[in-house]
């Protein structure tokens, strides 16, 4: 059986020192993905997001590239500007089918967004959870199914049906 990058990573993670370094990088990349999804859900460009946040576009690019190391406070501020707050969860470090989940709790409305379990609730109506699952997006077909599911969930949650 062929050795894959994940097999190699599992081997390296047996070293606690390596696991620490990997954990730090993984957190940065996870946040980068979350921030990009939040930005796109609001139809913002990196430049307009930078203007909104009062930071430079290259720094936004660095954050979205997983190369910046913002403090937790900075992360909170960035997300608050977009109408979100950060919800953290722990999950197994080892890459498994569901390796980690990063959630954004919506404090403001967002447009319909295919990666959210629920979206497009009007502001203040009900708190909703946008699950940016770190696993389980194997294809666009699958995303479409998820999108339909979330539409149904929103209708029930918002009392529209």
């Amino acid at each position: 059986m062929a050795v894959t990058p994940t097999d190699d990573l599992l081997e390296r993670l047996k070293d606690p020192e390596y696991a620490k370094l990997y954990g730090a990088e993984n957190a940065k990349v996870d946040f980068a993905i979350t921030l990009t999804k939040a930005r796109k859900s609001l139809n913002l460009t990196q430049k307009s997001l930078a203007d909104k946040l009062g930071i430079s576009q290259p720094y936004v690019a660095k954050l979205e590239g997983g190369e910046a190391n913002p403090t937790l406070g900075t992360v909170g501020s960035l997300l608050a500007t977009l109408g979100y707050r950060l919800v953290t969860q722990t999950a197994p470090l080892h890459p498994e089918p569901v390796s980690s989940v990063v959630q954004l709790m919506g404090a403001a409305h967002v447009g319909e967004y295919p990666f959210c379990e629920a979206a497009a609730l009007p502001r203040g109506e009900e708190e909703y959870t946008a699950n940016f699952s770190a696993a389980g997006e194997p294809s666009y077909d699958w995303l479409q199914i998820r999108k339909e599911d979330s539409t149904a969930k929103v209708a029930v949650a918002g009392g529209a049906v």
Partner: protein
């Protein structure tokens, strides 16, 4: 989840694996691993972050050429790149080759990765 594997040459070598495991890359390996796992989770969506970029874009900018190789990307880190190919038929990413990013080395490294890609494609046709 997307499948991500190393490309294996006819002689059994796996250039991307060899490069990642090179001792000179000890310091960047955690970052590489994190990006590969992100590729596994997010796949083509990593293009939104510019963590996954079509290689042909840079080639066009640097040399005024417009050579489009569908599905050929670079996975990017601060000072490293890994050439990867999204095989649509098999729905998986193959890692071909990695390099440290310098202005001098880049073109040569990309050319090398393209040779591996052509080798892979010719073997698929056999």
């Amino acid at each position: 989840m997307w499948q991500v594997i190393y490309y294996k040459r006819p002689n059994g070598r796996q250039p991307a694996k060899d490069w990642i495991e090179d001792k000179d890359n000890n310091s960047i390996r955690p970052n590489i691993d994190a990006k590969i796992q992100a590729l596994k989770r997010e796949g083509l969506l990593l293009r939104d972050n510019r963590v996954l970029r079509p290689i042909e874009e840079r080639r066009r900018r640097q040399r005024g050429r417009s050579r489009v190789i569908h599905g050929f990307f670079e996975l990017t880190g601060k000072n490293w790149r890994i050439a990867t190919y999204h095989d649509v038929k098999k729905d998986m990413f193959l890692l071909f080759w990695g390099w440290r990013k310098t202005r001098q080395s880049e073109e040569r490294e990309v050319e090398g990765a393209i040779r591996f890609l052509e080798e892979y494609k010719s073997r698929q046709e056999e």
